[in-house]
């Protein structure tokens, strides 16, 4: 039953992706500035003949509806076109960069949950204690601190001053790593390549912390408030009246229910971890999709931007699907 429902949800992503494709297509073309003009501006003086030729090459001479049709029919076949500026297929460009972005988002998610879940629980159980006040002040800081600023501070402290962690990149230059999945941590584990593992984890720490801090803060606050609410419920008192140890009262009876609203929030944050990391990628020279897209937007590289946005949308939809499935396991009142 569940499998059928999940399949249904996967199929619903098709019209969603179609909608995203159309919207991103028109938005790109609504932005002022012509890709060929920008390209030629960089190249210097060129003849109108050459400009016309480029336009033809990029299909920019065709009417809009034709361009859209071409884009959609190719996209259906899995071909996202050819980058104007990089002269390579968009697919290739994206899949070179996507693992770095996902790895960073994963690192940030891991960091934020490892921090936020214990803090949320402890501050709810020890409400108004010093721990609680301290963590909630920290959470306030976490949400109000811009990630680039935090990133720079972390670099100055842990990389420059203390020298514990690297400043930028994904792995120390010169370490050999056989690429399988493109996730460096995973690849070094697969190849039992310990130096690569240490190096890639070390490189992942600071960007993950900068990116995950605000998520950690949000999750800690949501979890705390739902725990506070749930610890007042009758069924928690019943759990105690049955003779449960307090640890189980909190970790089994209360936490299980408090995770329901928390999972929703985490799901929404996954989108921002994947799509909102341009700044952190820039600060740490992280070779991810974010930086590629920013550059592509400035250069009006329509196919690249379109392709990247569709990939973002797709990962976001999938992340939400995972959250929804998780949700049904946590909350028996909900079926997909």
């Amino acid at each position: 039953m569940r499998a059928v429902k999940i399949l249904e949800r996967v199929l619903i992503t098709i019209p969603i992706m179609f909608g995203v494709a159309v919207v991103v297509f028109f938005f790109m073309r609504l932005t002022p500035g012509d890709p060929v003009d920008i390209m030629m501006g960089q190249a210097g003086a060129v003849s109108t003949g050459e400009i016309e030729q480029l336009r033809r090459e990029f299909d920019l001479d065709k009417p809009l509806y034709m361009q859209l049709w071409l884009f959609l029919t190719k996209a259906v076949q899995g071909d996202l076109g050819y980058s104007y500026t990089q002269k390579r297929p968009v697919n290739e460009l994206i899949f070179d960069r996507l693992p770095a972005t996902i790895e960073l988002a994963g690192g940030a998610l891991f960091f934020s949950l490892v921090i936020a879940i214990p803090i949320g629980i402890i501050s709810a159980v020890r409400q108004k204690s010093l721990v609680d006040q301290f963590s909630m002040a920290g959470a306030f800081l976490g949400t109000s601190m811009p990630s680039f600023w935090l990133g720079i501070i972390l670099i100055l402290l842990f990389a420059v001053r203390l020298g514990w962690l690297p400043v930028q990149g994904r792995i120390t230059y010169g370490i050999n790593l056989e690429y399988v999945t493109g996730f460096y941590v995973l690849d070094s584990l697969l190849g039992r390549n310990w130096p690569a593992l240490v190096s890639s984890v070390k490189h992942l720490v600071l960007p993950s912390v900068s990116l995950g801090a605000s998520v950690a803060a949000i999750v800690a606050r949501v979890l705390r408030s739902s725990m506070v609410e749930i610890l007042r419920q009758d069924y928690v008192t019943l759990a105690r009246a049955k003779g449960n140890r307090e640890f189980l009262v909190v970790m089994k009876h209360a936490l299980r229910n408090a995770l329901i609203p928390t999972v929703t929030v985490v799901g929404l944050q996954v989108g921002s971890l994947l799509g909102g990391n341009m700044i952190v990628e820039s600060v740490f020279s992280w070779p991810g999709l974010g930086r590629l897209v920013v550059k592509a937007i400035f250069e009006r590289d329509f196919p690249l931007v379109q392709g990247a946005v569709m990939i973002y949308a797709f990962t976001f939809v999938i992340a939400n699907l995972i959250v929804d499935v998780l949700y049904t396991y946590l909350n028996p009142k909900i079926t997909l």
Binding site: D234, Y235, T237, G243, N244, R256
Partner: protein
Amino acid sequence: MTFQSNDPSASVLLELEDLTTVFPTRRGVVRAVDGLSFRLRQGEKLGIVGESGSGKSVTLLSILRLVPYPGQVSRGAVRFRGEDVLSKSAMEMRQIRGRDIAMVFQDPMTTLNPAFLVGEQIRESLRIHQIVPRSNGFLSRIYDPLRKAAEYRRVWGAMSDVGIPVPEQNARRYPHQFSGGMQQRALIAIALACEPQLLLADEPTTALDVTIQAQIIALLEKINREHGTAIVLVTHNLGLVAEFCHNTIVMYAGQMMEMGGTDAVIEDPKHPYTQGLLRCLPQVTAKRDKIYPVPGLVPDLADLPPGCPFSPRCEQVIADCSGDVPLKQLADGRMVRCVLY
């Protein structure tokens, strides 16, 4: 086996002595339970009646030491089987909870955990107190299907005891798939799983339809008769007490106003508050088209008058009421806290 219902020779199971439970509030310390003393014998059914806010629930929670923070027992003693409950360690307390003393709460909709199967919630009581011993074998600590099967047989037994049909199927349902009456039955099954000696029932029927109420009371009756479980039934409905309890305590603002055999209290109420409660009981025999609620408002515990807390609402109030009003024993053994006696 049938137990002697109200046998004065039965041993004392529970004894409260001058129990006082307080809540610090912004407007001062509130005494939710104020110097309450009573005894409960093995197999006895005791009713505690009073309007809402009179400290009934806090009394029960105090017995199990589950008074919510920042409330605490500030004075007095709770003795269970002669042992002081208040001085027990956290671990000893956990062994008493659920195994020796179990509790049923007022609102079944909010008392079952929505995230777990009903059968699992009943089984948890068995697991906590290790009612079914572990099988032999070194893996039994983590994987013990024989034990689980034995536990489930007991779960199903408990479910059919409380009148849940097709226990094998209903054990695999979630609380939200149950009706209110079935939820309360499941909660009673949870309470009875370990065959406790004492059942604390906090308004177990208030949230239910009248017909379901009668079924639940009949169920409690059966449990008391067949297992000899002593029951404290908390309610604001004197009619329920009249039908069910051997003895009755009338509480007001955390204090005992009257205590005695249920028949005596109902037929010849001494305290003006008890008389008022009885008057607001709609009677089936005498045809009346009016019910008379006790006049006045439920008292504000942070701002009680001196002397008798009921005096502002009392029709028979005299000057002495604002003085010290001690609990007095009448010739028939009844206790009354009123200057008229």
